[in-house]
Amino acid sequence: MSRAPSRAVLWLLLLTLGGGLGWAVLSLPPVAQGLGEQVRQHLQVSGVESPVTAVLLNFRGYDTLLEIAVLALATVAIWSVATMPRRRRGLAGPVLVFFVQVLVPFMVLLAGYLLWSGSHAEGGAFQAGVVLAAAALLVILAGAPLPAGAGGWPLRVGLMLGLLVFLGVGVLVTTTGRNFLELPPAWAGGLILMIEAAAAISIGASLALAFRGGRPRNARAGS
């Protein structure tokens, strides 16, 4: 008997999976009912005009809170298994350095715009965070080291800022007799923008640090 499953078994599995998926898709109703109408009806109490942001940060804020927690945990996991490899010089030519100097301020501006536009159009914390991470990657590739001392607490606070602000807002609203994460309609717009700004910083930091692949060498807690 061979150790690997035979081709016939593999094909059988593939056909079962493919057939099941096809059947599931074909049995969907032609016009999905969905929750779009419900979201539209309650949009005015969400504090934002974009239905996507309303769902992500208000109606289903719990899911987004957990997503941000997962990103934070991923960074903790990466830091616990490895230290940053030492960078070898050679990539940072004058062209790249100049390019980065010109581009990075615009990327930070673009991240701010994406954050702001999330309240009424496409955009939001994740998109803004990715742009921030891309800017950080360019700076890393240009060979700039972490500023001395920034590898300790400032970096850690930045990494956890999104989670802390989101959790803090979620807990604070319970003192006014609301449920956890139930934003009061009058304040929702400002609170969402605050949560998203903090989340964008944390998302950008954790993505950029995932690229570096380990904890900073000079990062000792308390240093």
């Binding site: 955009g123 998109q127 990657l137």
Partner: protein, 89 residues
């Protein structure tokens, strides 16, 4: 538009299978990034611009960069363990 959609759907499946079957890790990453960019177009065609932005940024751009860093690290480790041999997979 059905021609554009059909081409997108077929090339997505083709590129995904090529990426999975590629022997060379670098080639697989390049195909993965191409897949992410085409997937972005597919999300735009489905009127999901938010998802398209996230796919372009995280799916194609960031995960691609992460994979490239991973491939570079694997090759460095392979060179340290077996000096003089070019390991590329």
């Amino acid at each position: 538009m059905w021609m554009l959609d059909g081409t997108l759907a077929v090339s997505l499946v083709l590129i995904a299978s090529r990426a999975l079957a590629a022997d060379d890790l670098f080639e697989a990453v390049a195909l993965f990034v191409a897949f992410g960019l085409l997937m972005t177009l597919a999300w735009v065609r489905l009127d999901a611009v938010d998802v398209a932005l996230a796919e372009a940024g995280i799916g194609a751009g960031f995960t691609g960069a992460l994979f490239l860093a991973g491939v570079a690290r694997l090759q460095r480790q392979a060179r340290v363990r077996r000096p003089g041999r070019e390991v590329h997979r």
